[in-house]
Symmetry: C2
Subunit: 194 residues, 2 copies
């Protein structure tokens, strides 16, 4: 069974929304760029918002899937994986179609508290934080909650900075900063571990 027209639509819409933005992308533009008729679109999704939500759900799945897989390839030991996070991000930042994080942008355009698009974006970040927490725990962090939250700050900061000021060096800085806070968390400060 070939990929359904529905999946094809979501996949293509995802790329277009990512590249052009949500409000700035009209349904007619989606018709023109996907080659899928508007009638079909509204057969699969009752509103533009539902299509956006489907695109965000797909993005969440694809992105976290890629990130975790890449990190597992790049490093084996948990402490090393905490740093490999930023090596994976570096690859992302240097893709020529890199344009920040889709969820940060979605939450920027749909700011109402409790709006499904904003809620979905927040959930994505929570899942990302959970993954970092998992890594931090396996690495033997003294306070994995805290370490994960601190690393998340570096991840988000790197994403935004790589977009606004360019990708070069950002991951390296984030990695170095991460090393500092990881050292603190694992060694409980500058005291020798024994």
């Amino acid at each position: 069974m070939r990929p359904s027209k529905r999946d094809e639509l979501v996949q293509k819409a995802l790329k277009i929304f990512y590249r052009r933005g949500f409000h700035a992308t009209g349904m007619d533009k989606l018709v023109a760029e996907t080659g899928i008729s508007k009638t079909s679109m509204y057969k699969h999704f009752r509103t533009k918002e539902e299509l956006i939500l489907a695109a965000l759900r797909l993005r969440d799945q694809q992105f976290r899937n890629w990130l975790t897989r890449r990190i597992e390839e790049l490093a084996k030991a948990p402490e090393e994986r905490l740093l490999a996070v930023f090596d994976a991000l570096d690859e992302w930042f240097h893709q020529d179609d890199y344009a920040s994080c889709m969820f940060i942008k979605a939450a920027s355009e749909y700011q109402d508290q409790g709006h499904p698009i904003r809620a979905t974006s927040a959930e994505h970040k929570r899942l990302l934080a959970d993954y970092l927490h998992d890594l931090a725990g396996k690495a033997g962090a003294g306070d994995p909650d805290k370490l994960a939250r601190q690393l998340l700050l570096l991840v988000e900061g790197a994403i935004v900075t790589a977009y606004l000021l360019g990708p070069d060096g950002v991951s390296g800085d984030a990695r170095a900063a991460a090393a500092a806070i990881i050292d603190r968390s694992l060694a409980n400060g500058c005291l020798p571990t024994k």
Copy 2:
């Protein structure tokens, strides 16, 4: 001389754009919410984009002004000011109308390379980085460039995370992470300074 109608417009438009977004805010909405006639608006600004740019320039000025002033109030010694950055941010995050960074959101909506709105947003971040660099230098950091770039990551990460996951604790985490990387920069690692 009273504040000109033009300044009043930019000030009010700034708040509305910040709260509702750029594409989502039509000129008619601005007329309704500011009480300023559309004719006047287009006498002062030839396009909506020019009005947005004026609002961003005002925001840049107001925000950096507030931030630096607040930091100078909160701490006197340069090393302490590097940490006070996050105390000031914490106050911002807990304002009930906090809605992330206007420039991150602007760059999210106007993604074209070289678009004036995106360029203005990038410039704001560059100026923020310059300020951090200045503080880092005065604090005697070994590599003020690097420290400033790392702190900027924490600042941006805190802004985004406070918006998406809520303000509580974010600044504390950022502050703790900042302390770790500042210690490294000032002491050149865990080695004693002498």
